[in-house]
């Protein structure tokens, strides 16, 4: 599964575009820097790590299980 550090997210959208399962979307709430941080639909996520690869801000950690 994917862990999201919302406070680091600047909502560039690279991960939303790159995710092969369409599991990522911008959230309703804004983070401390004023961005609509990305959120994950855990039902759709397959932990492939593409989001980690394209993220300029090390928002993602991919964990086992």
């Amino acid at each position: 599964m994917v862990h999201i550090n919302s406070e680091k997210c600047k909502a560039c959208g690279y991960c939303v575009k790159a995710c092969p399962k369409g599991a990522l979307a911008f959230g309703e709430n804004v983070n401390g820097k004023g961005y609509h941080a990305v959120t994950v639909d855990e039902e759709k996520c397959v932990s492939c790590g593409t989001c980690y690869t394209v993220c300029p801000d090390t928002v993602f950690t991919i964990e086992e299980g």
Partner: protein, 244 residues
């Protein structure tokens, strides 16, 4: 729960790059390669002047801030004094191909044993988006308000092609506009670092990178521009030493 993919331990805190800036991706790739090679305690980075210098509060390696354009000269000197260390520069296109073009080309000409990383985003990012040597024909910047006109400003400079005239050990151009190119670019950085530590000699990776802020585009429009316009003029791939 065990993490199978996480940020390298030499990256700390928050970076102050703009949303969608490619610098954050390139810095992470460098940190990943240094960590995978087990060289975090033995790496010395030389930062340029430009948005590259924002790295000094984000990357926990030994870092030196060079004068504008002089990172390559500093790195060559450091490597001569400490040949056991992994020495690399981290520079923008303005720093490495404009004010620092002499240091870049003479480092290649002498085949100095360090790795030059050049982040080519086609503008002077930090100072507000002036035209750089690598701005494309027609590109609007604060100093080419009607678009770069080759009649007045010449054609965009290809620094890797200039370097390729010298007998250097490794040279490649990558891009960070999508996942496949990011993975490929990481292998170029790794080959450059391994070549430096094994065979030795000058190694360089130029990396095409988005600067959404000064391109006046959203991050997604910026990576689209790289795919459709920038790579046509600056093709990616290994230029020297790839077969090794």
């Amino acid at each position: 729960m065990a993490a199978v993919k996480k940020a390298p331990s030499t990256i700390y805190g928050y970076n102050s790059f703009c949303p969608g800036c490619g610098h954050g991706i390139v810095i992470r790739l460098i940190a990943e390669v240094v960590e995978e090679m087990g060289l975090a305690e033995d790496a010395i980075g030389v930062l340029a002047v430009g948005c590259s210098c924002l790295t000094n509060r984000y990357l926990a390696l030994d870092l030196l801030q060079a004068a504008h354009g002089r990172a390559a000269a500093s790195a060559g000197a450091i490597k001569r004094c400490r040949p056991d260390k992994l020495v690399f520069t981290y520079q923008g296109d303005g720093d490495a191909a404009s004010i620092g073009i002499a240091e870049t080309l003479y480092s290649a000409q002498r085949n100095e044993n360090f790795t030059q990383i050049i982040v080519n985003n086609g503008v002077y990012g930090m100072t507000g988006g002036q035209m750089s040597p690598t701005s494309l024909v027609g590109q609007k910047t604060t100093t080419s308000v009607k678009g770069r006109d080759p009649e007045i400003m010449g054609m965009p400079l290809k620094i890797s092609e200039l370097i390729s005239h010298f007998d250097v050990s490794y040279l490649a151009r990558g891009s960070v506009h999508d996942a496949a190119h990011i993975r490929k670019t990481k292998t170029y950085i790794r080959k450059a670092f391994e070549t430096q530590m094994n065979q030795g000699g000058y190694t360089c990776v130029e990396i095409i990178s988005p600067c959404p802020t000064n391109w006046h585009l959203t991050p997604l429009q910026a990576v689209d521009r790289i795919e459709k316009e920038v790579l046509e003029y600056y093709p990616v791939g290994e230029i020297k030493g790839g077969a090794r």
